[in-house]
Symmetry: C2
Subunit: 208 residues, 2 copies
Amino acid sequence: MEKIDIPRKTVYRLSLYQRCLQRFFEQEVDTVSSEELASSAGVKPPQLRKDLAHVGQFGTRGLGYSVRTLADAISGILGLSVLQPVVLVGVGNLGAALLRYGGFRREGYEIISAFDADPLHVKSTTEEMGVPVLHVDALGDYVKQHGVRMAIIAVPESAGQLVADTLVDAGVGAILNFSPAVLNVPDSVEINHVDLAAELGSLGFFAN
Amino acid sequence: MEKIDIPRKTVYRLSLYQRCLQRFFEQEVDTVSSEELASSAGVKPPQLRKDLAHVGQFGTRGLGYSVRTLADAISGILGLSVLQPVVLVGVGNLGAALLRYGGFRREGYEIISAFDADPLHVKSTTEEMGVPVLHVDALGDYVKQHGVRMAIIAVPESAGQLVADTLVDAGVGAILNFSPAVLNVPDSVEINHVDLAAELGSLGFFAN
DNA sequence: TAGATTGTTAATCGATTAACAATC
DNA sequence: TAGATTGTTAATCGATTAACAATC
């Protein structure tokens, strides 16, 4: 394993490129230039080339990139070649919406189980939500048994850290955190924090 | 207006500080040091002080910051002193969840109306969702008439740009975009892009 | 005055952009 | 060969961190 030295932002953008390439592929485009791919992803061409340089050489000078080859390469790097199992913790408003959200699956992820502390939410069955919803007490064991490496947290702030600790203890390596809580985890665990209130809050400044 | 020169990331963090200050205020803490406030927001003290330096001087050397004074100052800067009206476009899975999400209101924002292209969603009434859901055809006029300056987009990718154009034409100055679409807008309009699929997608890399 | 903590300047770090040589 | 476009190096830019003088 020598996948150490790629900047976080580059990894994020690789995921953008991947999605754009999928679209080109569906449109049966065989080859794209850095110009075309970059513009479809909303970045500048040198940015794209720099990002790709971090992970290898995929293009042909004078020609561009093979859509197929590049897409496969990025899939491999991001670990999307096989469907990745993910658990979701917190089936409130947002959690339930994420459960129904199709975008994750299209990207190569599958929420295989959800967890909640509220018996009312736990009662929801596979039929209702599309996945089993279990009590949060079972979270740690489930993660260990199924070897789950990724989790989505959509619980209230007060529960965030506890859930994160449980996940980390059980072996999860990456967390997408929608709770407002600032999570303390070991450096080996990666966290993407999506703070909805802060996203909107900071926009007020620009709206005048 | 000379609110030009504050870095985007600083504005974002101001919003974090604001929320932490609210908590300190509720706990009846009068004064915090940059050390305390920074740690509660998940940043380092010099970062906090640098951020604040962009917008003014609020602390007392040797003592720290008055929770009340600093909270009020940041509220003013972010424009949160009065409840900000926001429109939401797209009442699918995610849009509906955002509509019910309480975090925005707590932050000083109120979704005053929602819009959708699907007559099924449009039928939803104030009672069901808490806010009126109108047909997207009425979006531009509504925004103009109510002087709305902020919008949340939660429509499918194919509709993103069209909705953005409508909003910008109607005078919106800041958009929180949850659609995967890369939106082209004038420089005067600020966009925060929350790309759920890409957030999760990039995490795959770190999960091993 | 002594201790503490801010505000600010300087140093570091990393990321973006520009430019161009390599090469298909 | 000539035109095009990559991969890469160098220059720029901005943001973070460290350090410390100002000052309560």
